[in-house]
């Protein structure tokens, strides 16, 4: 029979004798369990695009805000006509477009030489029509754009989160009224709120921030409300209520951690949208305007001379686009990290 090939020993059929402890051992979970945020962080780290984006954003924030002692506004508004409209010149690099040469009438000509500028003077990204260093203006402009976006997003977060939690948690009539208000506000295009605000207040940083905060918070409020509503009926919150925990404690212990992922993700999407809006408003001339600097202002300036001095628009445009891509990718990465279900 087939048994021949089995290696049967005299003791083969003796009982193995499991003891209880062994069984308990086998039911232990091998890996240490991670908290929700640790798990999300671990997943985020696996997403190369998101990690690179995070680095880019950090570098941009550090460079633009760290430049404050070196680049100040009063310096930037002084005009230096002798240096006007110089192309990029990086010492040691000899690639047309980065060596101080520019195509004029189909020929690459050294603009620095033509204008009789000393050899020691060079501008890494060239200069604008008033002779300011474009690199300095871009760094300063990025700082302003980021400030506008971040502050507006913080306001938006503050209004949206508290509105959403109150509306969702209170429920009933309060919720109903608050939802109708949101419905009405959100059927007014953001653009119109922003434009009206800018007409009433003087165009400038503060009014853009206010306008953005007022027009963008409804999305956040809606999401937070929906989450609060569904959490409220969640078994563990019901359990906590039945056990007589106070509302405030429940909100802190259960609501905030669960809502925080939504807040983080939504913030990451609000910031690029605010950056875009600032650039848009400044570009059409109703946002931050000329002597001031932001990415939108730079684009507006650059667009006027684009035909002849394309670099003046290209550089700020590249910075703006990289910033937008980085925030969008990081937002996507965070969304996937916090909600494993959407990950594919």
């Amino acid at each position: 029979m087939a048994e021949e090939k089995y290696n049967l020993q005299p003791d083969s059929f003796e009982p193995l004798g499991h003891d209880q402890e062994q069984e308990i051992e086998s039911e232990k979970i091998a890996a240490p369990s991670l908290t929700f945020s640790q798990d999300a962080w671990r997943r985020l780290k696996k997403n190369k695009g998101a990690v690179i984006s995070l680095f880019i954003i950090l570098i941009m924030v550090i460079v633009s805000f760290g430049s404050t002692p070196f680049i100040n506004h009063s310096e930037l508004v002084k005009s230096n006509p002798e240096y006007a409209n110089l192309p990029a010149k990086v010492p040691g690099i000899d690639i047309n477009g980065l060596n101080g040469k520019m195509k004029v009438g189909g020929e690459w000509t050294d603009v620095y030489k033509e204008n009789g500028i000393k050899d020691s003077v060079h501008f890494t990204l060239g200069t604008d029509y008033l002779g300011h260093s474009l690199a300095q203006r871009i760094i300063y402009g990025t700082k302003i754009s980021l400030t506008v976006a971040i502050v507006a997003t913080l306001f938006d977060l503050l209004i949206g989160v508290s509105y959403g939690i109150v509306s969702g948690w209170k429920g009933g009539r309060t919720d109903n009224v608050m939802q109708r208000i949101i419905e009405i506000i959100s059927s007014i295009p953001n653009l119109i709120i922003v434009v009206l605000m800018l007409i009433v207040f003087k165009p400038g940083m503060t009014s853009i921030i206010l306008a953005l905060a007022i027009s963008e918070w409804t999305t956040m409020a809606r999401m937070i409300r929906a989450e609060t509503l569904s959490l409220k009926t969640e078994e563990y919150v019901l359990a906590a209520r039945t056990l007589g925990e106070s509302t405030g404690k429940i909100a802190w212990k259960h609501l905030v951690p669960n809502v925080s992922s939504i807040i983080i993700i939504q913030t990451m999407y609000t910031i690029p949208s605010a950056i875009f809006f600032e650039a848009f408003l400044s570009f059409i001339g109703i946002g931050i305007s000329a002597p001031q600097t932001s990415l939108g202002v730079l684009l507006n300036d650059g667009q006027k001379n684009f035909q002849f001095l394309p670099y003046q628009m290209w550089y700020p445009a590249i910075v703006l686009v990289i910033l937008m891509i980085a925030f969008n990718l990081l937002g996507d990465g965070l969304r996937d990290a916090f909600d494993p279900r959407t990950r594919r």
Binding site: Q179, S187, I188, P189, L196, V200, F280, Q303, V321
Partner: protein, 309 residues
């Protein structure tokens, strides 16, 4: 259904009324007089002008006149454009904007559906990666930057299309692309996510168990189920197109509403600002209502009961 519709229309009217009121009083709060050449005007002239525009009456009366006029389709008279009625200004310019908007919406949505579906069907391949990268870029490049680049490189350098103006179909192509890329990227992302969900669902598994081929499954089951929710994005797209039209029409010198709006804002032409504001609001509210109704009709699961919460 009827009750639901009535309720929605009431909300619509209420919203528009509120916007009209807020806009009106905000305009009144604004500093200075609205006349472009007021430095040269004597107080006497300003008084005559005020009388002519009804600005000498008390504010509440101006408000009543404004609302009353609006109900009858009269949006007042422009301060800037040779005293034309605002309603005339709008109606003479709405054609170009509407054409551009519809074209951009169709371009973006149709191409977006194709890109998104292909990415979902070939998910986790290079096709998917390429589509994802392109849609992230499409979402991140502001349309006005794209417009300037297109205008310079495609029209000026290559000479494929007219640089600006609005005199025929070839004039509409670049503005349509510039305006439509945002909705395109958004649609592609939306459709991809939705379709990946649908393709993983049990009813697709059942369709495969029926012996249907890939094309049949995608055409009959996956596409329909992932397209329906797209209707909800038409509202947000409308907002994006309105916003975009302001800058795109400017760059390509298109005689549309958006270009008019920017001009009015820059020249403090209150009646026109108010008129266009109301037009944008009305358009958006109407489109949201229509898409909600369409959504209820094409998705058998949604019943228009009035409590969608």
């Amino acid at each position: 259904m009827k009750k639901y519709l009535l309720k929605r229309v009431l909300y619509m009217v209420l919203t528009l009324f509120l916007v009209a009121t807020i806009t009106f009083f905000l305009m009144k709060l604004m500093p200075g007089t609205p006349y472009s050449n007021q430095e040269k005007m004597t107080p006497q002239q300003i008084k005559i002008m005020n009388q002519q525009y009804g600005l000498d009456k008390p504010i509440w009366m101006q408000y009543v006149i404004y609302i009353f006029g609006m109900v009858h389709g009269d949006l007042g008279t422009s301060f800037q454009f040779s005293n034309q009625p605002v309603s005339y200004l709008i109606s003479s310019r709405i054609g170009a904007s509407a054409q551009l908007g519809v074209q951009a919406m169709l371009f973006g949505v149709i191409l977006g559906i194709i890109v998104g579906s292909v990415a979902a069907i070939y998910r986790n391949t290079w096709v998917d990666t390429t589509a994802t990268v392109l849609s992230i870029i499409g979402k991140s490049v502001p349309n006005f930057v794209l417009a300037v680049l297109l205008q310079y490189y495609i029209s000026l350098k290559l000479g494929w299309f007219p640089i600006a103006d609005w005199e025929g179909f070839s004039y509409t192509i670049l503005p349509t692309i510039a305006l439509g890329v945002g909705p395109l990227a958004e649609t592609a992302r939306f459709i991809r996510t939705g379709m990946v969900d649908v393709l993983n669902s049990d009813y697709i598994e059942l369709a495969r168990a029926k012996g249907m081929n890939k094309f049949g499954i995608i055409y009959h089951h996956a596409l329909r189920n992932s397209l329906i929710p797209l209707v909800t994005l038409i509202g947000p797209y409308t907002v994006a197109l309105m916003t975009g039209s302001m800058v795109i029409e400017n760059i390509f010198s298109i005689p549309g509403i958006g270009e008019q709006y920017v001009k009015s804002i820059q020249t403090n032409d209150y009646p026109t600002i108010m008129g266009v504001t109301m037009l944008f609001c009305f358009g958006l509210v109407l489109i949201i209502l229509i898409t909600d109704i369409i959504y209820g009709i094409i998705d058998p699961r949604i019943r228009l009961t009035g409590n969608e919460d």
